[in-house]
Amino acid sequence: MSIDLQELPDELFEPLEQDPASLEMTGFSNYSYWGSTLRTFAKSKLSIILISVIGILVAFSFIYPIFGTDPNTVYLDTTKWNQKASLAHPFGTDGLGRDIFSRTWHGTRNSLMLAMAIALVEIGVGTIVGAFWGYMRNLDPIMLELYNIITNIPSTVYLVLMSYIMRPSFVSLVIVLASRGWISEAKFMRNRVLSIRESEYNIASQCLGAPIWRIVLKNIIPYIISLVIMETALTVPSSIGSEVFLGFVGLGLPIDTISLGNLVNQGRSNFLLYPQQLLLPAGVLCVITVSFYIAGNRFADASDPKNHV
């Protein structure tokens, strides 16, 4: 069947109004990756609540001094030791009469800063190195050797030796933990990239002659972004956990630094007698780590383009 176009009557057509804006429209949708991610993330109530919780806790740990109790005041009067919770001391006092409430918030601030610092260094370095490592074959032998050397020194040997060399402090703990952690992050990313790089779109890019840096930045990093965020979410709680563990072994932050790790370790020894000295700081610690963990997972889900509508 054929239609004679010439014979179509004019009344079938309507003239279109001239719109300069519509001329600019292209064939692409107005999809914005980060916009969609945030929208998807914000759709979940839980995410919002958790983000608020983190926000409130962080804010509170910075403004707690308005309550006016000093976390370091020691009392020589033994009746002031190990007090139960009261209005003056909402979490009670510890074995020397120090106010646990203010210690908890002080510790929260220190621990969060520590964990964030470690996470930033570790994930930042790890991801970038890992992406290159996974993509460039000739990097592999060198990096693997480096990886083997770093990870083959057992972590306890490494940590104890480092603590011999460096005096325990905030910075040295970040260095000690991150200097070990980044290579594992990189290795993890490398393994992901290894399985990604064989994918078709990558091969297409290569065929089109895209330079390596472009392939890594445009093809690979966005693809593993959900993993990065999830890893960050996991690193914050695990850094806090490492700090608690190192405190247990005696290699944590300086013992006179107030941190959640030090508080938990100090509360542990007389747990049966004064459970609140352990449970209250540990509770705050858990709220923080759980919030980070879940929020991080939600964010990872939201940042996956496949979950964008």
Binding site: R167, D256, N270, Y274
Partner: protein
């Protein structure tokens, strides 16, 4: 002295009779096993290398003498002994026919003879063995120290003219120990030593079979089958870092007094687990921390908690007289500054960290512990006129402290607050701490301790005490903590202004501690220079009459305390306990290993009560008094 020795024997015999009559009553209903815990890793069972966990060796290897439950020296492997007129030569007659037993409880072919005691001394006096406590005994036996250092000089290359083989034979000729025959042993001492028996309960005097040593070599004491036993028990099981089981030795010379069949010790991580095990009925006795004690108050357990006796261990503070911190170094020369610190320190509150109920009980204000030595009139060494005022008076007085401080400031600080003779600058006490000093008030003071929880609490309290008594305008306490090795980070580089530590008291003479804190003494960690004190000690050491000797020593001690060269403040021992073991049935003694022996122990089904404990204690005191009286 002979008279005194006879009294020893008389008392000893009486003690044995009493002990045996006491035991026969309870042995019938005693439990078959004593179960307890240990926290410190068992490093070795080599008796000569021990630094803790003495129970295992104490119950499995006997020495020449031991203590009975009154603390008197009674025969063990030695049946009897005599000494010459000035107590410088001691001869021991040994029990005959005894044989060493192995880890299966079988008799070996090795007999226990006087030669075993000679060989033990030969073994520990070889520097290659590395017996850490050798310094305790090296000067008492004649020639022992020379032999040790002759070998040491060869090892270090200082002496290239001789070889070890050249020196070995000199042990038999020059060192004052000799097996006259298989069952007669003679010690020749460096000088008059009436208190020699208190040495013989130290682990370094335990016997060692040479023939067996040759078969195991360097591995001696590193496993249960690398050791031989002659005590009431043999080690039937040693699961490293897990448990030790000791089983009754069927060939023991004093078998009838071994009332408990097995002694079982298991490793626990902390007191929390120990108490739980006790409350669940899995162990015989448990030690409590101050916090656990407070927790149990008001519960059914309260009546079962008793406070064990003080030990002769003394804690004292050491000042660093060569501190890198110029402010402290300058002020420390001023005796009023030292006194200010002494009077500002509240030892009772520090003691409350361990003993919340009656903290004053565990303070000690003298260097030599009380109730360890008595002169011929029965007066306690620390009750002599020179020391009594110190012993009785707890020197905490913030007002007085402030006065001394102001006096010290007046003497050593310019009116504008500049400490005389101090150049401002940077103080490097790394890895412990570092800071800048401005040479002005407040005076910086660095207090260093370990990261142990109680130690940290102590340091925080100490700082609070100083500041509240002396004023933050006058003193600034900097706290430092060692991370790993205290000797490496603190002692050796002298990275402290003030530390405290515990000092054991190893034999029954004031010289045990007082001769070690002289200017050149090994315990002078602070490096003070006290020629007057050295002279006083020199004079006291020369005295052979016990009354005169004690008096001279007390004078020397008084000099140290008066000028506050160091600050004793607490006793060791004395913890809260709960137990099924009837108290005061086993050997007691201030020195050596006897107090760890379980000989004569009676285990009852119900935990003993605090009332029973004090009643038994009273009875013991009475019996003691009647025996001496």
């Amino acid at each position: 002295m002979r008279k005194m020795f006879k009294r020893f024997i008389a008392v000893a015999l009486a003690g044995m009779l009493l002990a045996s009559s006491g035991c026969s009553g309870g042995a019938g209903n005693g439990a078959a096993a004593y179960k307890s815990t240990f926290m410190q890793t068992i490093e070795t069972l080599n008796p000569y290398l021990l630094t803790g966990n003495y129970s295992f060796v104490a119950n499995t290897i006997d020495g020449l003498v031991e203590n009975d439950r009154y603390g008197q020296y009674v025969p063990s492997l030695a049946q009897s002994w005599t000494s010459n007129d000035d107590d410088s030569v001691w001869t021991f007659k040994l029990r005959e026919g005894l044989k060493w037993v192995n880890d299966l409880g079988q008799q070996t072919r090795y007999p226990v003879t006087a030669h075993d005691f000679v060989e033990a001394l030969r073994y520990v006096s070889d520097p290659a063995v590395g017996a850490k406590n050798f310094s305790t005994i090296r000067s008492v036996i004649s020639g022992l120290s020379d032999y040790y250092f002759a070998l040491d000089d060869i090892d270090s290359g200082d002496d290239t003219t001789r070889t070890r083989e050249d020196v070995y034979p000199t042990f038999d000729t020059d060192v004052g120990v000799k097996a006259i025959d298989d069952y007669t042993l003679e010690y020749t001492l460096s000088g008059s030593t009436p208190y020699f028996l208190s040495y013989l309960v130290i682990e370094l005097f335990l016997p060692l079979n040479k023939a067996f040593l040759d078969t195991v070599g360097e591995s001696y004491g590193t496993a249960k089958d690398k050791l031989l036993y002659n005590g009431g028990y043999y080690i039937s099981d040693w699961d490293r870092d897990k448990q030790v089981i000791m089983t009754q030795n069927p060939y023991y010379w004093d078998k009838e007094h071994i009332t408990v069949k097995t002694l079982e010790y298991q490793k626990v991580a902390d007191e929390v687990t120990g108490l739980e095990l006790f409350q669940r009925g899995e162990i015989t006795s448990a030690t409590l921390t101050a916090e656990q004690f407070t927790a149990l108050k008001g519960t059914d357990w309260e009546k079962n908690i008793y406070l064990s006796e003080k030990s002769p261990l003394t804690y004292w503070f050491t000042f660093n007289y060569h501190s890198d911190n110029p402010e402290f170094a300058a002020m420390l020369q001023n005796v009023n500054f030292r006194k200010a610190i002494l009077y500002a320190m509240d030892r009772v509150t520090l003691s409350a960290l361990w003993e919340p109920e009656n903290p004053a009980f565990f303070t000690r204000n003298t260097i030599i512990p009380e109730e360890t030595m008595y002169n011929s009139k029965g007066v306690d060494y620390t009750d002599q006129p020179n020391l009594k005022p110190f012993k009785d008076q707890i020197p905490y007085d913030p007002a007085k402290a402030k006065d001394f401080m102001l006096k010290a400031i007046e003497e050593s600080v310019d009116p504008d607050g500049t400490i005389r003779g101090v150049t401002p600058g940077y103080v490097d006490m790394l890895p412990v701490t570092d800071f800048n000093v401005d040479g002005k008030l407040p005076i910086d003071l660095v207090f260093v301790c370990t990261q142990d929880e109680l130690e940290i609490k102590k340091s925080l309290l100490f700082r609070e005490m100083m500041i509240s008594a002396l004023g933050s305008e006058n003193i600034n306490v900097i706290l430092g903590y060692s991370v790993n090795s205290f000797s490496e980070e603190v002692f050796e580089p002298m990275n402290f202004d003030l530390v405290d530590d515990s000092y054991s008291f190893r034999f029954a003479d004031p010289s045990a501690n007082l001769a070690r804190i002289t200017t050149d003494g090994s315990m002078n960690e602070g490096g003070y220079d006290v020629p007057e004190y050295d002279a006083l000690v020199e004079r006291a050491l020369a005295a052979t009459d016990i009354d005169q000797r004690y008096e001279l020593f007390s004078e020397a001690e008084k000099y140290m305390l008066e000028n506050v060269y160091l600050m004793p403040y607490l006793t060791g021992g004395g913890s809260y306990n709960m137990t099924h073991e009837v108290p005061f049935t086993t050997p007691q003694g201030a020195f050596g290993l006897s107090k760890y022996k379980m000989k004569g122990a009676i285990i009852q089904d119900t935990p003993i009560t605090a009332a029973e404990y004090s009643q038994r204690k009273e009875e013991l005191e009475k019996e003691k008094a009647s025996m001496l009286g």
